[in-house]
């Protein structure tokens, strides 16, 4: 184990394979994300992008392969343990807590950042009040960051769709992740919202968070990403800077084949 090598290899997966019965969702996928960068993952429908997120976050158990973050192995861990390593994600099909207010959703994001236990909350100790106040301040900061402060006390299910996507991002940010995985954050957004989202994601990277984004909106991907990885039928077919990937014949073929 050389610490030096790990500095280069911040967040990476190697030889990841995932099969569902006869269907091979991922086959020998490798990725490598630099610290504090924005990595996009693109590919046609069914290419395996969400499956890769599910493998990283521990929802699917891969058949082969390993994933490491900053030198520690995170493959094979349960989802709630993966999040303890600082990896948090959003969902392609929104998973907001509709039985809570907007603010409560974001507070739930900070679940691990408070350490108080049952004795503290049953007996309302000083620690309880101090940590709850900290959570609240952090949550309000996150809502402010995505521009949802005005809706903090609204039931989350009443937010318009575009705002629900932002709420998922705010909730994930409240966990203070090292790596944020965004699964199609622009899906269902109009042009104006998408453009604002691009700026927001760049500002997340500026906060020192490493972002991996699955996205179909090519304009957005090419505009804001540092690097792009292309999946097709569960395999990596290209990777590089946006300009390199755009010119790659394999990528052009994959997308033309889909149309």
């Amino acid at each position: 184990m050389s610490g030096q090598a790990h500095k280069e290899m911040y967040f990476h997966g190697d030889g990841i394979s995932l099969r569902f019965g006869g269907v091979t969702a991922l086959s020998g996928v490798g990725f490598h994300v630099r610290r504090n960068s924005l990595q996009a993952i693109i590919g046609p429908n069914g290419a395996g992008k969400t499956s890769l997120f599910n493998v990283i976050t521990g929802f699917y158990r891969m058949d082969e392969g390993e994933i490491h973050l900053d030198g520690s192995r995170i493959s094979g861990l349960a989802p709630h343990v993966v999040s303890r390593h600082g990896i948090v994600r959003t969902f392609q099909n929104l998973e907001i807590f509709t039985n809570m207010t907007v603010l409560e959703n974001v507070l739930t994001g900070s679940h691990l950042l408070a350490g108080y236990g049952p004795l503290d909350f049953f007996l309302r100790t000083r620690r309880f009040f101090r940590e709850e106040r900290e959570l609240r301040e952090r949550a309000e900061g996150c809502l402010d960051f995505v521009g949802l402060s005005a809706h903090r006390d609204l039931p989350a299910g009443q937010l318009p769709f575009g705002s629900q996507r932002l709420l998922e991002i705010a909730r994930a940010l409240a966990a203070e992740p090292r790596v944020l995985l965004l699964d199609e954050p622009a899906a269902g957004l109009n042009m104006k919202e998408t453009s604002a989202l691009g700026g927001l994601i760049r500002r997340i990277v500026d906060r020192g968070i490493t972002v991996v984004m699955v996205e179909h909106d090519m304009d957005l991907v090419m505009r804001i990403s540092d690097r792009v990885l292309v999946l097709n039928y569960g395999e990596v077919i290209a990777g590089g800077t946006p300009a390199e990937v755009q010119k790659d014949p394999a990528v052009v073929a994959a997308y033309l084949g889909e149309e």
């Binding site: 709630h80 999040s83 948090v88 994600r89 907001i96 509709t98 739930t108 679940h111 691990l112």
Partner: protein, 329 residues
């Protein structure tokens, strides 16, 4: 102190004076029973209303604790406090053992699992005759006594039961308004998203299941040392269903709803006694009407009523003012 505690304090004050306003002692008995059910319903609401996990076997935890302390104190002469401690310990231990495999099940399967457990415990109460007295029940359970003080009158017992109910309500309220309460509600809507945020969903579900069994066990122990007699029928499937009805009718994920549900469903059959042969029909009709018109439960109804009363008062105040002209739009 915040608004939530103020509400509870007002409730406690009201509960303290109620015994002096009752027309007769019969109502005291009904209030004691509804206090016991309040404890059970508040606990079950933590599990069902907040965490979204069904239990159709909660009467079993109620009964296990009642029988344990009943047998130890009545048959074996243990001191009451020791019998109660043993009842609570046994009930929660069994809940833990049941929770570990059962909570892996979801939705209907969880309901079926807890239903099966409740039925098995009910059969044991009936069949383990030497221990439990079988279908005819267990007699000779001593009245509650703590450090030589015997709580023999209904009035004394009323304060014991409602004191316990209010304390347990306060603890439940503190839980709900904490990171654990948020985690439980998160589990209710999306276990996936909850676990992404670091919530150990399985552990939390087990915790809340055991906690709600503990609430049921407190109710069971207080029941046994009040009635001084226990029999299986009190802890049947019907009781489990009644508890679920209290939670749902009162209002899911509302602690005040649990209190309202418990009070309402304990008093309703008493009121309906006057119309003997039709009571079941009317009872059913009232339940259906509540579900149709108050999908958010009695808690929502009370809130609406409160809102309407407040706006009426405001309007009355406005009309009283001399310059108040013009009609409402």
């Amino acid at each position: 102190m915040d608004g939530h505690n103020a509400g509870l304090l007002a409730f406690a004050a009201a509960a303290a004076v109620v015994p002096f306003l009752l027309p007769n002692d019969y109502y005291l008995t009904v209030l004691i029973v509804s206090g016991l059910y309040t404890i059970l319903a508040v606990g079950l609401n933590l599990l069902m209303g907040y965490a979204g996990q069904a239990s159709l076997g909660h009467a079993a935890f109620y009964g296990l604790s009642a029988y344990t302390t009943g047998i130890l104190t009545g048959t074996h002469g243990w001191p009451v406090w020791a019998g109660i401690a043993a009842g609570l310990a046994l009930s929660t231990a069994v809940a833990y053992l049941i929770a570990v495999p059962t909570l892996k099940l979801r939705g209907n399967y969880l309901a079926m699992g807890t239903l099966g457990f409740g039925i098995i415990v009910y059969i044991v109460f009936n069949e383990a005759t030497e221990l439990t007295g079988g279908p005819s029940g267990l007699t000779g359970i001593p009245k509650l006594n703590v450090a030589g003080k015997v709580f023999s009158s209904d009035r004394e017992y009323y304060y014991v039961v409602w004191g316990a109910a209010i304390l347990l309500f306060l603890l439940a309220q503190n839980l709900v308004r904490s990171r654990m309460g948020r985690a439980l509600r998160a589990i209710h809507t999306s276990e996936t998203a909850a676990s992404v945020l670091g919530v150990d969903t399985q552990r939390y579900k087990i915790f809340v299941f055991v906690l709600s069994a503990f609430y049921a066990a407190v109710g069971g122990a207080l029941y046994a040392h009040y009635v001084t007699f226990v029999s299986p029928s009190t802890f049947s499937f019907g009781t489990s269903v009644l508890l679920v009805t209290m939670v749902v009718l009162g209002g899911m994920a509302s602690l005040w709803g649990a209190v309202l549900g418990a009070l309402f469903l304990t008093f309703l059959p008493e009121w309906l006694r006057a119309i003997e042969n039709f009571d079941i029909l009317v009872y059913g009709a009232i339940l259906i009407a509540c579900m149709m018109f108050l999908p958010g439960g009695l808690a929502e109804g009370a809130e609406r009523l409160w809102g309407a009363a407040a706006s009426l008062l405001r309007r009355a105040g406005a009309a009283g003012r001399p310059a108040g002209g013009g009609s409402a739009g």
